[in-house]
Amino acid sequence: MFEAVEELVAEHADLEKKLADPSVHSDQANARKLNKRYAELTPIVATFRSWKQTGDDMETAREFAADDPDFAAEVKELDKQRDELTEKLRLLLVPRDPSDDKDVILEIKAGAGGDESALFAGDLLRMYLRYAERIGWKTEIIDSTESELGGYKDVQVAVKTKGGQGATEPGQGVWARLKYEGGVHRVQRVPATESQGRIHTSAAGVLVTPEAEEIDVEINPNDLRIDVYRSSGPGGQSVNTTDSAVRITHIPTGVVASCQNEKSQLQNKEQAMRILRSRLLAAAQEEAEKEAADARRSQVRTVDRSEKIRTYNFPENRISDHRVGFKAYNLDQVLDGDLDSVIQACVDADSAAKLAAA
């Protein structure tokens, strides 16, 4: 068990030697890279050492246990410790998603179901806002198109860890928890708009994108179409325009990003560009993932945006996630932001799948 870790231990020792050499630090970028890898390996190596040590201690204790009941008790205790360390080490060895620390843009789009679908999009929005509030994340609605009955045709939310600078602990960012939300969410209930009391099925789509850094992607300005509020009159001095929203379309891919939450048109444009970059980068990565058919590919996160991932059944107060076979009868609580168990089921299934493939 854990034979492969010996290689990581050797790599860790090698990195330690390199980082102690002052000449390595003359290349800042390389030094940062080495440091990052070193920091990644350190907990693995430390846990591996404890795991090995516990194994050795257990051997020794076992030898004496036949004659001494104190040692027999210690064997039991050490056995428990070893199980815990084994589990901890297994989890540390799960390949990490480099985006886990990032903040996200979450978009909810009503489906073909008209008003009912838009109302459901509003319910999903509220669910995510409440969930974020429970965790202590910051949420900002950066763009929205309302429907007639108070639902949403389309709404985008920026979800950030409080400082807005990604996670403080590695792997604890917004993306690590919300990445499993992307896909089609189905609702089964009697719509407010239905007079006969019949149960309808409709749906809304969720798209989650980790926020890219400035340098991650390059865009040719000629590929962009920019739309802003257009007054019915001549514009300029003749009308006091208050709507500074900006919508940017990347023509070659059809990817769209928009923002209305910033103060000026220029600031909305810059924020929309940041979102566009994130979306283009995510699209490129998904494409690459698909093509490579990488064995380590997450089995839970859906690349196919048309996949139905969840059903919200009101008559039975049931929520189910079809990817991981999760089912619970507390839909009311889930819609009030108690999303943790369904998300944890996705995280666990993803870890297990990655571990099996590693």
Binding site: E140, I141, P234, G235, G236, T241
Partner: protein
């Protein structure tokens, strides 16, 4: 949804009925202003914190008082400006005009570019240039005493050289030394008076909106002023109405000492500003 969002939805309907062009934007901005949050954070305001004065400010907006007069603030590029009765409220189209001006002055590669803003109003253009063009020396002129009350507030602590006076005769001390002249002069043709939105017609100063029958009186005058101020190779940028794209570039002719006269659209692809370069001797 919280109480505030429910009230905003009602206010949106009322503003729409009153003919406000973007009722949801205004209903949300008023709520954000009153509760001290960003527009996208209205859902975070606890019900107990709902401020009943919301309905007072909505009523003022319903009567077509400009949003920026109610909040006392206007946003322009990276600036937050103080505005109110007596001064023209900056428009988003002018943000693009300034964007072009910044690119032009950067391309000149002058160490300390000298920039003049004619008819500065709130000071939006001059302050944006001072903020975004490092080491620029920015000069601005405004005629109206009412407007200047606001200009002075906005320029407090800035390095813009502000003067009161007529744009046509301003800055005799800078003749032939200026790298960039930029202006958003009054340009609405008097014949279009009835098509001007109430927020502008009844609340922006007339002096900042209208200039003669065809709206081009001041621009024709500014052509001479710009030529006097600019060094050879210096650039002029002038905003104009969407119907004037065929006329304004023709004011900056070769016979009058200009080169590269061109017209440019705004983000809605409407003709919006003209540019020209002072010809080398």
């Amino acid at each position: 949804m919280n109480l505030l969002l429910a009230e905003v939805a009602q206010a949106t309907q009322r503003l729409a009925d009153a003919g406000v062009p973007s009722p949801r934007t205004d209903a949300e901005e008023l709520a954000a202003y009153l509760h001290g949050v960003k527009r996208g954070e209205l859902h975070t305001v606890p019900d107990a914190d709902f401020d009943a004065r919301y309905w007072e400010v909505v009523a003022r907006r319903e009567a077509r008082e400009p949003l920026q007069h109610i909040t006392g603030r206007a946003y322009f590029r990276y600036l937050e400006l103080q505005v109110g009765p007596g001064v023209f409220v900056p428009r988003p189209e002018t943000e693009s005009v300034v964007g072009w001006a910044i690119d032009a002055v950067r391309a000149m590669d002058v160490v300390e570019p000298c920039i003049v803003d004619l008819c500065t109003g709130s000071g939006a253009i001059a302050l944006a240039l001072a903020q975004e063009v490092p080491r620029s020396r920015v000069h601005a002129v405004e005629l109206s005493e009412d407007a200047l009350k606001w200009t002075r507030r906005n320029m407090e602590g800035s390095r813009v050289d502000l003067r009161q006076g007529d744009a046509l005769t301003a800055f005799p001390d800078l003749d032939g030394q200026v790298d960039l002249v930029v202006s958003n002069p009054p340009y609405i043709p008097l014949t279009e008076w009835e098509y001007v939105a109430p927020e502008a017609r009844d609340h922006d100063p007339e002096l900042a909106l209208f200039s003669g029958e065809d709206g081009l009186d001041l621009i024709r005058g500014l052509e001479r002023t710009a030529h006097r101020l600019l060094r050879p190779g210096g650039v002029v940028v002038v905003e104009h109405a969407d119907t004037q794209g065929g006329q304004v570039p023709w004011i900056f002719t070769e016979e009058r000492g200009w080169a590269d006269a061109a017209d440019h659209p705004d983000l809605n692809n409407r003709p919006r500003f003209a540019t020209a370069r002072k010809a080398l001797p």
